[in-house]
């Protein structure tokens, strides 16, 4: 009995090994394949069979000789996703699955930027979102560092680095203080995409007029109208002059011309005259 115990144990080991071999998959696939890379699939057994590689992104079919590896050259499978390799022969069907991964190098981006036009000096008013793709237009789901930058014609640049999550990243930026066409760009690896963001002057700031007599009338003239960052407010912007005299109100709307607004109003001693543009109030003059 003492001699037979090791023998029985050895027999059990052999039996277990045989069982493991019997359960080994007949189709052996790589765990992952990079999109567009060459790969091969081992098909155990004897005789001829048909190999299908099936996924929503692609379908391949190839006659194979069991016992040999089926080689797929570069460029055969390029759409990222989950694929199932199925081998069918007269003796049955076997399958195994694997991932086709996006290439790691970005080749393209989808850049969504907004708005295309906005006033200067607004906090977090410019937003950008990006999706990063490889050369086969697979979304690169692995984290990837992207850089957003906003540059104005004077050369000032605001930069932000963001890491993608599930292929996407986003940012918010302030509009700059200077009017003009800014470039809003995103960079992922060696790939860039750019949008133009027109930054226009904001509301008038420190609106101020002066008055001088002109016969029976008053000549009212604003100083050059600028926003709070010193940008000239565009011609055509309406400036409103209002004269109050003995309970009567007279209002004149005047568009800016060459940066200023001017108008003549009746000269009533004791009148009060104010100036405004939109919701922005300017100074007030009491006419004596």
């Amino acid at each position: 009995m003492r001699a037979s115990l090791p023998f029985l144990l050895a027999l059990q080991v052999v039996a277990a090994s045989s069982l493991a071999l019997a359960q080994a998959p007949d189709v052996s696939v790589p765990k992952t394949v990079e999109a567009g890379a060459a790969f091969s699939i081992q098909c155990a057994g004897n005789g001829k069979a048909t190999l299908f590689i099936v996924g929503p992104g692609q379908v391949l079919k190839q006659d194979v000789q069991l016992g040999e590896s089926a080689a797929f050259p570069a460029g055969s499978l390029y759409n990222a996703g989950w694929y199932t390799a199925i081998v069918t022969s007269t003796s049955g069907t076997q399958s195994a699955s694997f991932d086709v991964l996006p290439q790691s190098k970005p080749s393209d981006v989808s850049f969504l930027a907004r708005p295309s036009r906005l006033p200067v000096g607004i906090h977090n008013a410019i937003t950008g979102a990006v999706y990063v793709f490889d050369s086969y237009r697979n979304l690169i789901s692995a984290p990837e560092e992207v850089q957003f930058d906003l540059s104005n014609p004077a050369g000032a640049v605001e930069k932000k680095s963001v890491t993608t999550h599930d292929g996407a990243a986003w940012t918010e930026m302030d509009s700059t203080a200077q009017q003009g066409s800014d470039k809003f760009a995103v960079h992922a690896g060696s790939v860039s995409s750019e949008r133009i963001v027109a930054q226009v002057p904001g509301d008038p700031c420190g609106l101020k007029m002066s008055a001088k007599p002109d016969g029976q009338r008053i000549q009212l003239t604003t100083e050059p109208v600028r926003d709070c960052n010193g940008n000239a407010v565009p011609d055509g912007t309406i400036v409103t002059f209002t004269e109050n005299f003995r309970g009567t109100q007279s209002t004149v709307d005047v568009p800016l011309k060459r940066g200023i607004a001017e108008v003549q109003m009746p000269a009533h001693p004791g009148a009060t005259i104010s100036v405004a543009s939109g919701v922005v109030m300017g100074n007030q003059i009491g006419w004596q």
């Binding site: 996924g55 992104g57 379908v59 199925i86 069907t93 907004r114 937003t127 599930d166």
Partner: protein
């Protein structure tokens, strides 16, 4: 805040019409959105995105089963549509059809772009895929996969623009 919401989606019979597995509706679980991004996702938008995504599985299944790329038009756009249409071309050339039957979806909206022009969601989906070679069914496989899906708004619905399985 990681509370899970179970939402039973009553997918209309009309949506299921034409599928080979009529009556076997997928179970749908929607996790609370884990949004990155400044834009608030309104409930109505969220429901529309999920409804349209689930509907896209119906047209995806029908298109690949019948080898008809035109069935993708309503629910797919951009690279997702091109890739699926190419798969259909490959299937036609090989004399193959595939039938996809989604059994369960575990969805989470992960990104709503600041300008509101795209929504990204993840879907831990279980489905059966059946391969039919020259009208002979070769095999049916049960698949569990994690999909990343990007949808963009069209005139009256959200369309799938990226539809890609990624490692779990």
């Amino acid at each position: 805040m990681m509370k899970t919401f179970k939402i039973a989606f009553a997918i209309s019979t009309a949506l299921l019409a034409g599928t080979l597995f009529a009556g076997a509706q997928p179970t749908v679980r929607v996790e609370q959105a884990a949004l990155s991004g400044p834009r608030v996702l309104q409930d109505q938008t969220r429901s529309a995105v999920i409804r349209d995504y689930l509907r896209s599985w119906q047209s995806f299944d029908a298109a690949l089963d019948q080898n008809r790329p035109d069935l993708l038009n309503a629910d797919f756009v951009g690279s997702a549509k091109e890739k699926l249409a190419n798969t259909i071309k490959e299937q036609e050339a090989l004399g193959v059809r595939t039938q996809y039957h989604d059994r369960s979806h575990d969805l989470r909206i992960v990104f709503y772009s600041p300008e509101g022009m795209s929504v990204e969601l993840t879907d831990n989906v279980e489905y059966d895929v059946q391969v039919v070679d020259h009208d002979k069914t070769t095999t049916t496989q049960r698949v569990s996969a994690r999909y990343i899906v990007v949808l963009t708004p069209a005139e009256v619905r959200w369309r799938v623009r990226v539809f890609q399985a990624v490692p779990e």
